[in-house]
């Protein structure tokens, strides 16, 4: 009986502590600052504009573009089909269903990639999955997807293929009117495959 009392003295307080913890804290592990830094530094959050353009042209239903700029900027110009979640309202209750879900591929974008990256960092820290950042933001989108620069004669075939793809994507997405004047603009980056979270093996077997 003495042992039982000792056991009760240990496990009941532990049970009360765990019961008093918020449920989401018990269920979802948050990233430590170190893990977040590592993830942010490795660039897994970026999704290449070519992939987004391809998804847009194919009208991929899983793509959801999220404009994190201000509503005024969103009114002036936004990518087709995108929704506005201003960065300052990111944590508001009405957007939590949009940001915390596993059905869509959410792609944050801003003019550059700084604000979109901030939005990604905050949602990642909250434990949300399936959120990505449009690499280069709208600036890169305008300069390279909607008004692609024709590659030089000596460029490898893949650059021509990318140029052709971007030209047709631009036509489909209502771009192409902007004339590129700056010859020194950065050369297009290599097409990256879509970035998805590292798949984890489901273990099998029991006792």
């Amino acid at each position: 009986m003495k042992q039982l009392k000792l056991l009760a003295l240990i496990i009941i307080p532990l049970g009360i502590i765990i019961a008093a913890m918020p449920a989401d804290k018990v269920n979802h592990s948050r990233l430590t600052p170190g893990e977040l830094l590592q993830e942010a530094g490795s660039g897994v959050q970026f999704i290449s504009p070519d992939i987004v353009a391809d998804m847009l042209v194919r009208k991929d239903p899983s793509l959801r573009l999220i404009d994190v700029r201000t509503p005024e900027e969103f009114e002036t110009y936004s990518l087709p089909g995108s929704i506005n979640v201003p960065l300052s309202n990111l944590l508001s209750e009405e957007f939590s269903d949009i940001l915390n879900q596993d059905a869509y591929t959410n792609v944050f974008y801003s003019n550059g990639s700084v604000y979109a990256n901030q939005a990604w960092m905050i949602t990642r820290q909250l434990g949300y999955e399936n959120n990505f950042v449009l690499e280069g933001g709208l600036n890169y989108w305008f300069g390279n997807i909607l008004s692609p620069e024709s590659p030089s004669q000596t460029s490898p075939d893949e650059e021509f293929a990318r140029y052709d793809f971007r030209k047709s994507a631009a036509a489909a997405l209502g771009g192409g009117g902007v004339v590129s004047t700056d010859a020194a603009s950065p050369s297009p980056k290599a097409v990256k495959p879509p970035v998805t979270a590292k798949s984890k093996k489901k273990p099998s077997g029991g006792c």
Partner: protein, 196 residues
């Protein structure tokens, strides 16, 4: 961070090696708690010895608290921890068959190996019966398949069904376990048995 093997922090082989050592430790604890005696195991059904209930419930509560706290600290991702899928019909039928075998044989699969390891003849006979059952089921699987796979529920959690948080349900389980321990100790006094 965890679980270690699904997150590929340790390899599958290291996982088996760790399982080997944990298994030996488990057997040692079983043996030193007296689980290699079928009289001790049968005692739970007659009330004179409730050590089975106490050890297994303490183990379950310890593991539950450990997992919940490690999850809260962010050390383990509980969504990656393997949970046996529930086939309701076979769980009930299997529970009845296993329970009957437990009373008649005085062992459960783990403790029978524990008993055999220290040379108990009845445990070895029990293991023989266990293999007959395993092979018998495997070779006649076609007859049972419908029953075996009936009423598949996925991986349900009682806390989800009740709408409770995992932590609150954990506290509830602790109180249930302590209540059972009190009843078990009362039963041990009520139905004492000398010399077993």
């Amino acid at each position: 961070m965890g679980p270690l093997a699904p997150n590929e922090i340790i390899s599958e082989n290291t996982n088996f090696l760790l399982a080997f050592f944990i298994g030996i430790a488990f057997g040692w604890v079983l043996e030193s708690s007296g689980f290699s005696s079928s009289r001790k195991l049968a005692g739970i059904f007659y009330g004179y010895d409730a050590v089975v209930l106490k050890v297994f419930f303490t183990a379950a509560i310890t593991a539950m608290l450990g997992l919940l706290f490690m999850s809260a600290f962010g050390w383990i991702d509980l969504t990656l921890v393997y949970v046996n899928p529930t086939y309701l019909t076979s769980a009930i039928v299997g529970g009845v068959v296993m329970g009957a075998g437990f009373i008649m044989g005085g062992f459960c699969p783990g403790t029978s190996f524990c008993g055999a390891a220290i040379g108990k003849i009845d445990a070895m006979v029990f293991i023989g019966g266990l293999f007959i059952g395993v092979y018998g089921f495997a070779f006649t699987y076609g007859w049972w398949e419908k029953l075996y796979l009936a009423r598949y529920l996925g991986e349900p959690k009682i806390s989800d069904k009740l709408g409770l948080s995992d932590g609150l349900f954990g506290l509830f389980m602790i109180l249930v376990a302590l209540g059972m321990f009190v009843v078990a100790e009362w039963a041990e006094k009520k139905f004492p048995r000398e010399e077993y």
